[in-house]
Subunit: 222 residues, 4 copies
């Protein structure tokens, strides 16, 4: 669209959007701790009752841990994706904004899950949690789509690599939808399937020089 | 005022004010989620009652979504404005401080709106929400006024472009005041008008090489 | 202490401490909004009762506004001070840590003041608030002392300028202590005196080329 | 692993992980203040009752102060460690993620300690607090292990220096475990031992040119 703008200005723009996104990721991941509620002091409590109270908080600890890892993995994927992007566009900014919306939302379904996972609405809570990751996944699909269709990638990124990432994101969508549906039947199965996807996002290689040793590294990694 | 200070020092100053502002924007946008309150567990609740509880939270979700988009658009406009600014001054810093004050305030009227939009004080809540954007708009007008009167802009920014942005900000003021007044009569009309302005801020072009293809890009976008 | 370390490494160190401090300032200033409590919905409330409830929140709004401006002015002074500093030392880091401690503490006395300024303990609340700024001021004095005694300043900063800033900080200490004492007698007088000091911090010039036109700007402002 | 990637790209990667980590540290340290609860206004309170209420909050103030200093020292150590690192790897990222997890968790045991240190479960609260630092220490050990085994350090870092830091981290582990055990017997002894370790982390030198004057500074400090 704007071929005359020089490279360094483009990189600064991309860098600033990434820095803003990083801030949102860092804050969202740190706010998770606010959902952990301190057990109150019972007047007639026996010595050491707090130990039992803390143990009973295990759903909150598990939800805190799960969402922390989830946001951390999201951040690493976001960063990996941005390394392939040379410049940004309007649709890319909108997709990135939607993705950040879903990231900042994560602490809420996390708290809902922690509070309700042992109650009569555990399936709803689990489906709400898994459903949030459907939205997160839609954000990544939209971001990648905006990047590839708008020609925003570094020249060195091959079409094979583009398709590999698109396929991973697309497959993630169907698995998250399935996890959400399964959670309505059995909360644990849905949560397990949703969490299993971390393996995919954890190993997804964005840097082409790591994925295949053939491409020149200076084109992508610079 | 200080013609002897070299360019890179000026840019560093501007960059640091922008980085601080970016941090405030990123935190304010992420704090919005804290206003979403987790439905409590009712002892005798039937299975799946949480689903109904979550649905009843729709005003909170709508307010969260609305304010997220509003702050994101504010951030993009703030960034667009800063791209035209070469150096900063005292009045510019004061105006930027006032703008940040209104940005950090946004989560509060958002929470007020979410809690009261269905109650007997919906008009007050909506007017309070719309009125906050009057203040935000005053901040942008003050910032642009400080930038243009103090000669802080890049040399390449044309007088036509300066007037175009001033007119957009000025028109925004009257629309937000009108939205606040209308909200006292009908909450939905006020909120709709206020939200409709997003279209204006979303398409307002700060970069002159995008607005008109004539200007040299290196003057502004560097 | 470490004369062999080159200039760019020193500047990076200073820049990183400043970036961390900026983050703390930005978060503290944005957390202030969390102390504003949304008026609850009364079942039998008459139409528009929220308006009255919001008006009754004026002490919270006033405290929010006051502390926002206070932290913003602190940030500008912190930044101004860092512009004069070329490298950092252990004592400087400790003093900066103490200053950040007092900055992150500010939201708490702010909330105490807002809740109690109209109650029977208004003097205590005001003295607690003013006393916090005594601690903040001690932080600035310690920071400036560490910078000047450790020889951390840019070579171009004159002894006259060093003394001017030291005198301003030292005078501030006595005024804040006086404000704290006066607040115990009359809350309004103490708060007014404390706030009046903003004028001093707002106009205190750190950049020597602005304070006096004689010094070469490239020594300090680079 | 990837010898062809040029130096500046590696440094940018390391810098971005450090910037994200810095953000998490800055937010966690600032969130501590949210655990300080404003004393409520009692209707029939005598004049100045707030003073007594604030004094009774001393466990919260002490916990706030302790955790603030702890996170600040953690941040300085994190920064010192990163100065020795030239590039990052997968295991290093995982270890850093675990460390950040423990850092964001700190506000919770802090609040538990403040609430329970004077109650019948003070030993449990103190052990929970000290135990958190065992996890933090495990994070540092994992980070250093990933850095040294993966060959991620700057070439100028000597084996002697590597062993010195490893020994300090390893000793810290046993002391924190001992502090956790002792806290179950006597809360004060456990907390005192845990806090005494600050002296170790406060003086641990990461920069080799400070630790020994022999090494060339440009290799490490650049």
């Amino acid at each position: 669209m704007e071929p005359t703008v020089n490279e360094s200005s483009e990189q600064r723009e991309t860098g600033r959007v990434e820095a803003f996104s990083d801030g949102v990721f860092a804050i969202a991941i740190t706010l998770l701790v606010l959902e952990l509620k301190v057990p109150s002091v019972d007047q007639g409590a026996v010595r050491g009752a707090l130990g039992y109270d803390l143990l009973r908080l295990w759903p909150s600890f598990a939800a805190f841990l799960t969402s922390f890892v989830a946001i951390l993995i999201m951040w690493m994927n976001h960063h990996g994706l941005f390394r392939l992007v040379r410049r940004i566009s309007g649709p890319f900014l909108v997709a990135n904004g939607f993705l950040l919306l879903t990231v900042t939302f994560v602490p809420f379904p996390t708290a809902v899950l922690a509070r309700h996972v042992l109650g009569p609405s555990s399936q709803i809570a689990a489906a709400f949690y898994c459903g949030t990751y459907v939205l997160v996944n839609v954000g990544y699909n939209a971001l990648w789509s905006a990047a590839t269709r708008g020609g925003l990638l570094h020249p060195g990124v091959s079409e094979v690599h583009v398709r590999k990432i698109r396929r991973a994101y697309g497959a993630g969508f169907f698995v998250y939808v399935a996890a959400t549906g399964l959670a309505l039947w059995n909360a644990h199965v849905g949560l397990a399937l949703s969490t299993a996807l971390w393996l995919l996002w954890g190993v997804l290689e964005y840097s082409e020089e790591r994925a295949s040793e053939e491409a020149g590294p200076s084109e992508v990694g610079n």
